[in-house]
């Protein structure tokens, strides 16, 4: 079943036209990769889906579980079951690891949900589960997130997203700046999450790493989809890889 | 160029020949037009405001208010150099206005009543003070700067209210001002000869108008010197300005001192005009007034603040005085507050900006 349907979206930063008529879909349960070079528009796509502004979506529609979420504020989108792990991780440096995790839970408090139309059905992990999946975080529970290493911060950012009621996890370059060994840990974590039934849209510049775990892939260039197919097809399509991914 | 030590290029200007000096002073661009236009307006203003049949009846103006408007106009013009161009909001400019006023007053009592010397004394003190206070408060921008300047000015207020009362007259204000004659010959209160008298009224007005004209010319020059550009650059992107090799801190200090200079000129004129220094001239409400005037008229423009000063003083002195505004007179403060807020909200560029927008709309943006 189609979980996310991005249909002919045009997005702008101010007057610069970034996404041009971009369409893509994500099926329930899969790991879908969104690839492209530096500045191709991958982050912009994720931000448009998550409702973060800027960019401004001026045309086209984004549907999630059949509901139109185009132009919906970011906090509402998140409550529909879409979690974004943004570039550069964005953990709250002044809060402890524990508090960083707890804040994701706060979104379910009555003070936050009161008089909002919400339809989350997604799974959300308990803190205990999260610590089991990321034992390093348990060790660092009372440490301020700002003092964590890059890999630990990435773990924390993913863990935090999982503690939301997530149906669709948007990951923006989760391997960026991570040592290869830690990249493997994160990879394993993503696969584990996927097995638990969370749909994943993974953005990467590093095509090789993404293809390794993805079921399907899109390649964007200058805000347009230039390839659409399974991971295997992309692996075999040397021309696309060379032209748009520089590999 | 850049491998030469910086001071070398600075000293070039200092050792410039006479012809270079003249070159510097030669008017350029629109300068002549702006100054001449200002001169005409200044010459006609008191007549239209206080004496011209019909018009003055409508306006209900009077001579000394015309003078006062110019004086505050100079103050606001200088304030705008700081707020409108460098982007620094000071809540302590009363310190310069007030201290210049006290200095000029005390100077007149003890040294000389010559209006020009009084002005020099008052302005010199204000500039010195601006240098010291600027040095101390310019470490941070935004709210910190606003609060620091406010704190220093309040400190000066309390200084002159009690510990220095023997000098300043404390709450009574400084009443011993002894203004002499202009150039030793012309009594400031007496009327100008012939048609000039009809147009401009007193020597005092003429004196203030000439100073105002000089201030406008100076302001125009500053804005069209490298400073104007640098100030705007600093306001917009301080860090970048630093990284093209500009000494941001010194430029800021300079804009602070320059605006202190204008405040000092205005404060001195205020004493010459009023022969009295109220203690409130150092109080933070005086700083607040110049903020309101500047913003009302329009920040980031040369004439906006002067217009703002005019509007403010008009409301304060004429609307508040009843007839023909009896209806709203008691609420003039409230009205000013409302106008002020509406201006910030709807016309962030002030009345002057609004006029220009209207003009542009009519002329289709030409000119």
């Amino acid at each position: 079943m189609t979980l996310l349907d991005v249909d002919a979206v045009d997005a702008y930063y101010g007057e610069s036209h970034i996404l041009r008529d971009l369409s893509m879909t994500v099926e329930e349960g899969e790991i879908c990769a969104l690839l492209g070079r530096n500045g191709a528009g991958k982050t912009t796509t994720l931000r448009s889906i998550a409702g973060a502004k800027p960019p401004a979506v001026r045309d086209g529609s984004i549907r999630f579980k059949g509901d139109d979420i185009t132009g919906m504020p970011a906090d509402d989108v998140a409550m529909q079951g879409i979690s974004l792990v943004p570039e550069e991780r964005r953990v709250f440096a002044n809060l402890t690891v524990e508090e960083n995790l707890q804040i994701a839970e706060v979104s379910r408090n009555a003070s936050n949900t009161w008089r909002r139309h919400l339809t989350t059905t997604g799974t959300s992990m308990s803190t205990e589960q999260v610590y089991e999946d990321f034992p390093r975080l348990r060790e660092r529970k009372t440490q301020k997130a700002g003092t964590l290493s890059g890999g630990e911060q990435q773990m924390l950012a993913i863990a935090r997203a999982l503690k939301q009621s997530t149906d669709l996890l948007l990951l923006d370059e989760p391997y960026e700046g991570l040592a290869p060994k830690i990249v493997e840990d994160v990879e394993a974590a993503i696969e584990r999450i996927s097995e638990q039934g969370v749909t994943i849209l993974l953005v990467e510049q590093n095509a090789a790493a993404a293809i390794k775990i993805a079921d399907r892939a899109y390649v964007v260039d200058q805000g347009q989809v230039v390839f659409d197919g399974t991971a295997d097809e992309l692996r075999d399509d040397d021309e696309t890889r060379e032209r748009y991914l520089g590999v | 160029m850049s491998d030469e030590p910086a001071p070398a290029s600075e000293s070039e200007a200092d050792t410039g020949t006479v012809s270079e000096m003249i070159g510097i002073w030669a008017p350029r661009g629109n300068e002549v037009r702006v100054v001449a236009g200002t001169a005409v307006v200044l010459a006609l203003f008191p007549f239209a405001f206080a004496r011209m049949p019909v018009v003055s009846d409508l306006l209900q103006g009077y001579q000394s208010l015309a003078t006062l408007i110019l004086i505050w106009g100079i103050f606001a013009l200088g304030f705008d150099l700081l707020l409108g161009y460098t982007g620094l909001l000071s809540f302590g400019h009363a310190a310069f206005w007030g201290s210049a006023a006290y200095t000029a007053g005390i100077f007149s009592q003890n040294v000389s009543g010559s209006p020009i010397l009084m002005m020099v004394a008052g302005t010199a003190f204000a500039v010195l003070l601006a240098w010291v206070l600027g040095f101390l408060s310019l470490r941070r921008g935004g709210i910190y700067f606003a609060i620091l300047t406010l704190a220093f000015a309040q400190m000066m207020f309390y200084m002159s209210s009690s510990p220095l009362a023997f000098l300043t007259g404390g709450e009574n204000g400084f009443t011993d001002v002894e203004t002499g004659e202009l150039f030793g010959t012309f009594a400031l209160e007496s009327d100008l000869p012939a048609v000039l008298g009809t147009l401009m009224g007193t020597w005092l007005y003429a004196f203030v108008a000439v100073i105002t004209l000089l201030c406008v010319a100076l302001g125009y020059r500053i804005l069209h010197s490298p400073y104007g550009m640098v100030f705007r650059a600093i306001r917009e992107n301080e860090q970048r300005a630093e990284f093209v090799g500009l000494n941001v801190w010194r430029y800021r200090l300079m804009s602070f001192i320059l605006s202190g200079l204008f405040a000092g000129i205005a404060g001195s004129l205020f004493v010459i005009h009023g022969t009295y220094v109220p203690l409130a001239s150092l109080y933070w409400t005086t700083s607040g007034e110049v903020v309101i005037m500047t913003v009302l008229g329009g920040t980031g423009s040369l004439f906006g603040p002067i217009v703002g000063a005019g509007v403010y003083l008009y409301v304060e002195n004429i609307v508040s005085g009843g007839h023909p505004f009896d209806f709203i007179a008691p609420f003039w403060h409230l009205i000013l507050g409302l106008v002020f807020v509406v201006t910030i909200w709807v016309f962030p560029r002030g009345l002057w900006g609004f006029f220009r927008d209207v003009r542009d709309a009519i002329t289709g943006g030409e000119n």
Binding site: P86, Q102, I103, V106, R160 | G142, S161, P163, F331, H333
Partner: protein
């Protein structure tokens, strides 16, 4: 009189004066820290608190102003002080909510000079409205009879400080503690602290940040309101009190460090004590000394006593 009584008197006076500053500064500071909004109209909230308190607690004779001209020579509910203390924070909280919605929201993304200017204008408007309605003369707002004179407790009777001032210190301590706990140990505080650093990320987690923000503003406003009720009977009550108290309150925030509750408390205590000590020693220099100390602190530690240094981006 013995030196220690005098010392304790000075200390208590300092604390009490500091308490009013603290109530205002804590509100200003959390608003500045979280919403990044510079509220020069905070004094207006204090003003509203004072008048609301006065009119709830007592019945006053109006001697000037429009209301009196319209025939309200006596105004007020006369409910007494305790009800006023309970109702005023609620009233001012609501005023704060409205202000957040209609003033702060539209100016959130404008430069802080614009925020200062618009709230400065607003402060004038509020002051002038009060002037128009209630007149500019001071209204009598006496301390409640049960809080006049020194408390009838052994030892304290010897100290010439009215009980009301002890209550002020007590109320302030309790309220600041509550706010501190709220911010440091609750989910609400968690969101607020996170939002201080990265508001967009908080929203990406599904949290409607405008809700905690408006509450923060409301709490700040309510604290100012409380300061108004408890401070009202200690000072003359007229329309200018709001703007007059704004200056020291802001100084307190800035010397304490923006965004820091502990800083605001420290700043307020320091301010109050400095004032009390200077009055007891070199009284003519008390005001000058106050501002001088503020200036010195800011020159030595521009981020304030407990403020965090600005991190270069």
């Amino acid at each position: 009189m013995s030196f220690h009584i005098e010392a304790i008197t000075v200390l208590l006076n300092g604390l009490q004066q500091g308490a009013i500053y603290i109530l205002l500064a804590v509100g200003l500071s959390i608003i500045l820290g979280t919403l990044k909004f510079v509220n020069f109209a905070h004094g207006a909230l204090y003003l509203i608190g004072t008048y609301a308190g006065l009119l709830l607690a007592l019945e006053v004779n109006l001697t000037s102003g429009q209301l009196q001209e319209w025939g309200f020579s006596q105004l007020g509910l006369g409910l007494g002080y305790i009800p006023a203390l309970l109702i005023v924070p609620v009233v001012v909280f609501v005023v704060g909510l409205a202000m957040e919605r209609f003033v702060v929201e539209p100016f959130k993304d404008r430069p802080d000079t614009d925020q200062i200017l618009v709230t400065f204008g607003l402060a004038i408007i509020v002051q002038e409205l009060f002037r128009a309605f209630f007149g500019s003369s001071s209204l009598p707002f006496s301390q409640p009879a049960w809080a006049q004179g020194p408390p009838q407790v052994p030892f304290l009777t010897a100290i010439p400080i009215s009980s009301w001032r002890y209550y002020v210190i007590g109320i302030t301590a309790v309220l600041v503690l509550i706010v501190y706990i709220l911010v440091e140990f609750t989910d609400f505080g968690l969101v607020v602290r996170a939002g201080t650093r990265d508001p967009e990320m908080v929203e990406l987690l599904g949290i409607r940040l405008s809700r905690p923000y408006i509450v923060v503003f409301g709490i700040g406003a309510a604290l100012a309101g409380v300061a108004g009720v408890v401070g009202g009977p200690l000072n003359p009550v007229n329309p200018t009190i709001g703007n007059e108290i704004l200056v020291p309150a802001f100084l307190t925030v800035v010397i304490g460090g923006v965004g820091s509750i502990a800083g605001a408390v420290l700043g307020g205590v320091l301010f109050g004590l400095t004032q009390a000590i200077l009055v007891a020693t070199y009284s003519a220099w008390a005001q000058v000394g106050l501002y001088a100390i503020a200036a010195i602190i800011l020159l030595v530690r521009p981020q304030g006593l407990l403020g965090e240094a600005e991190v270069a981006p």
